[in-house]
Symmetry: D2
Subunit: 99 residues, 4 copies
């Protein structure tokens, strides 16, 4: 199911705003970790910050995944083309339990 | 083992540069995902980018962890205070298998 | 969506056999790890065996999850009750990225 | 650091008993999941049981890892051969964040 450069239209303005705000906060946190490295901060303190970034990134992923399943996957199922879309969903799921 | 605001001195300039470069690339990738959301890109394409960020962040964590174990934990062991430092290491490890 | 003690009817004999065979192999691997502990085997060798068990268990989970999504979730979507079933799927997904 | 068939002598009887009991419980849980499959139990109920097995297996891994670090890795560090042992520890850690 090649989708490169395809766009979707199901994201509400509110949902996009929420995603973008979360990503902006994560961007700031990554800069914060850079600063901690430059300031020779204790390793475990830096690693604690990175766990917080990982947790925040996971929330973004879950929001995207739920949105995707409720719209793209659900539409494919209603149109009788669910299997390919579900297999794509499973490969995303598998990748997220690896990273 | 409270270490807030404590600094370490074992990171070489090269190691710090490597960490900072990796973090700068991750920062750029996070901005890239913001752009994909604004451009209504296909959900799975965005999620693929996020897995790449997670993998890159994990490399940073592994580098920090190895550095920490070879210096802070090893020094504590040599000074006969290994247990507390090892238990701290285990709690970092547990957190990273959760995030 | 309370489902305790509810049964499903979508699993084919072949799919059930595959699941049961995989689980029997995992059961044998767990007994193998017990033996390694009793024989005082090197820690990393035991941990390597446990990673193999985790990977095998993940395959079982992915098979169940794909089966579930293609049947229970897809049916709920077709009957217009997709949201609750998708939210349940997301909570399973979140739990699996935690364990 | 090839260690196949090497044995260790640092595990106390109590620690071995704790590991073996945990593994026996996990073995029983795996048999329980087999039964759920045979009884056509609801997929999410089975997946919930599998998450419990994953969590129990993780406890066994953490116990082994802490034991290993406090003895094998600590001894290698005291004998001036810490780096190879720490790199082995990091590869275990990396594998556990993948499974």
């Amino acid at each position: 199911m090649e989708h490169n450069h395809q766009t979707v239209h199901h994201r509400t303005t509110m949902s996009k705003e929420q995603l973008t705000n979360r990503l902006k906060r994560i961007e700031g946190q990554v800069r914060g970790v850079q600063k901690m490295v430059e300031e020779d901060r204790y390793c475990v303190d830096i690693l604690t910050q990175i766990s917080a970034i990982n947790a925040a990134m996971k929330k973004v992923s879950l929001q995207l995944l739920e949105d995707h399943t409720k719209h793209c996957v659900a539409d494919a199922i209603k149109e009788g083309e669910g299997d390919a879309s579900i297999e794509e969903l499973m490969s995303v799921f598998e990748r997220f339990t690896k990273a």
